[in-house]
């Protein structure tokens, strides 16, 4: 498998060509520095992203609580996580970083409040 990955670690944005299979990287080309090697390897084998969205607040239709994953999640689980978050609502008061959903989709990451709403 071959894939072109744009490094987003610094503004230079190197286009790195990665060759490998599901578990291993065989070769990397086009990186400008060591950080790009780490980034492209992780991105090739198991790309992860921070997920941010909102959840409903019980008894308050006008307001939403912004939430985030406290760790990056596997990219291919984002939609599955969204399904669960969509069905969730919270009770007030809630403090910043309070856990809203723990270990979402068995990812090891929690969905937490991005801000306090008292």
């Amino acid at each position: 498998m071959e894939k072109e990955i744009i490094c987003t670690v610094c503004p230079r944005g190197c286009h790195i060509k990665v060759v490998g299979d599901d578990k291993n990287v065989q070769s990397l080309e086009g990186y400008g520095c060591k950080r790009g090697v780490d980034y492209a390897t992780a991105e090739f084998i198991s790309p992860v992203r921070i997920l941010t969205t909102t959840v409903k607040i019980d008894g308050n239709d006008a307001d939403l609580l912004p939430v985030r994953s406290n760790k990056p999640l596997p990219k291919d689980k984002l939609f599955e996580c969204m399904e669960i978050i969509r069905k969730t609502s919270v009770k007030l008061p809630i403090k910043q970083y309070d856990v809203v959903i723990s270990n979402i989709c068995d990812s090891g990451a929690d969905i937490v409040a991005s801000k306090s709403v008292l």
């Binding site: 744009i6 921070i50 941010t52 006008a62 939403l64």
Partner: protein, 420 residues
């Protein structure tokens, strides 16, 4: 009329106003007041629930609410005063007053020793760029769609075309996809991306959303609701090639075609405005052409990174406090900052040589993307600061650090030179 006295009055409680107020207080100003029209502090970051804030300042990837809450907490612990639900109507330089309407007190007059403008910016709309066609429902600016979805729980559409590859448009492409909408494409007039590369990778590529550079929307069709748009490639002169026009079905169009600093108040106070940025002309203290009026954040020039906004606003707050306390640097000479090869504008626009040697961070944007570039600041032929960049892009701000003691003559030229 209700009256309030203070040392430093800050207009706007977004990231710029918050950082300025905190810096003013820390510098020693006794009474610092933030005047904000919204019911809460945080500015535009309240609707920016996505990550990508604070990478430079805090070395962490924060969401908008996390970023501003670090500042609002400091605002309350330091005892900065805040006047919410207060729309500022007028800034008067000669009387050093700010007139606002407050929900509780009605018309209110704030008398200050110095004033900081931090009103942010607003979005360019369809009217600003003139797109032909009908006027059906389903047309939004990307930022207003962001506010509706993230703060008011209103989904704007199901099948979406976005005009403009600015950061807000790309971020909304991801947001709406995650919420189950189908973002058909992002259409960009220029032959390069308007926003940050990071956002293209994480917001478009991740979801296989096509980016059509050198294309534009030629027409919007639909009777009551948008039914689709015509999209065509453009030639070198940015004129649509109509033979290649294609119909794209959609129910919603988002415009992400740039931001304009919000400067009605500044103009009425007769602050000098830079025709390129549409914001006040400032020196390194973020002081405008009026001695007691300072400005910072998106009201001065549109920033892509809030981290830069915070840094520049701290300067504004610090020097507004020093002016209020009578300890402002003594001006020896004013130096004009000129734009040279491939530089669109600089901020600050001028530098003051004072009795203090200062290290000034000079921000600027290039006109066109280029690779292998040397950024220089020169006085005549003498280079006083330089730095190499592998790539420069109008969407990403550049900067050079300048020591004011090294400046000779009456002007500095900033250039992006091509390296062989």
């Amino acid at each position: 009329m209700y009256n309030i006295n203070c040392d430093v009055a800050v207009i706007g409680g977004g990231p710029a106003g918050l950082a300025a107020a905190i810096a003013a207080k820390k510098e020693g100003a006794e009474k610092v007041l933030i005047i904000e029209r919204d019911e809460s502090l945080g500015g535009i970051l309240q609707q920016c629930i996505h990550p990508g804030f604070g990478l430079t300042r805090f070395n962490e990837e924060l969401t908008g609410p996390e970023y501003y809450s670090r500042f609002t907490e400091e605002v309350s612990s330091l005892g900065v005063e805040v006047l919410l639900n207060s729309m500022v109507l007028e800034v008067n330089d000669s009387e050093k007053t700010v007139i606002c309407v407050n929900k509780e007190y009605g018309m209110t007059k704030v008398v200050a020793k110095s004033i900081v403008l931090a009103m942010g910016c607003r979005e360019r709309t369809r009217a600003n760029i003139v797109t032909p066609g009908t006027r059906p429902a389903g047309i939004y600016t990307a930022g207003s769609a962001q506010r509706l979805i993230n703060r008011q729980n209103i989904m704007v559409g199901k099948k979406i075309v976005i005009l403009g590859s600015g950061d807000i448009g790309m971020i909304m492409a991801r947001r709406m996809t995650l919420e189950g909408a189908n973002v058909v494409m992002v259409v960009e007039l220029m032959d390069y991306l308007a926003g940050l590369t990071r956002n293209k990778v994480q917001c478009l590529d991740d979801f296989n959303i096509p980016l059509k550079t050198s294309h534009t929307i030629t027409k919007i069709v639909g009777d009551k609701r948008v039914e689709g748009v015509y999209v065509a490639p453009v030639d070198e002169n940015k004129k649509p090639i109509l033979e290649k026009e294609e119909f794209v079905a959609c129910d919603t169009v988002l415009f992400s075609v740039g931001l304009i600093p919000e400067n009605e108040l500044s103009k009425n106070a007769e602050v000098e405005i830079c025709p390129v940025t549409n914001g006040p002309v400032v020196n390194q203290y973020m002081q405008t052409s009026k001695e007691a009026i300072f400005a910072c954040g998106n009201v001065v020039h549109v920033n892509d990174l809030v981290d830069n906004v915070s840094a520049e606003s701290e300067q504004a707050g610090k020097y507004a406090a020093r002016l209020a306390m009578g300890s402002f640097p003594e001006k020896e000479k004013e130096i004009a900052v000129k734009t040279g090869r491939n530089v669109r504008y600089t901020c600050p626009h001028k530098l003051i040589k004072s009795n203090e040697n200062e290290k000034v961070n000079l921000y600027f944007r290039v006109l066109a993307p280029e690779k292998s570039v040397k950024l220089i600041a020169r006085c005549g032929e003498e280079i006083i600061s330089s730095k190499k960049e592998y790539r420069v892009n109008p969407g990403e701000m550049n900067n050079l650090c300048i020591e004011t003691a090294k400046i000779s003559g009456n002007e500095i030229v900033i250039e992006a030179l091509k390296e062989e």
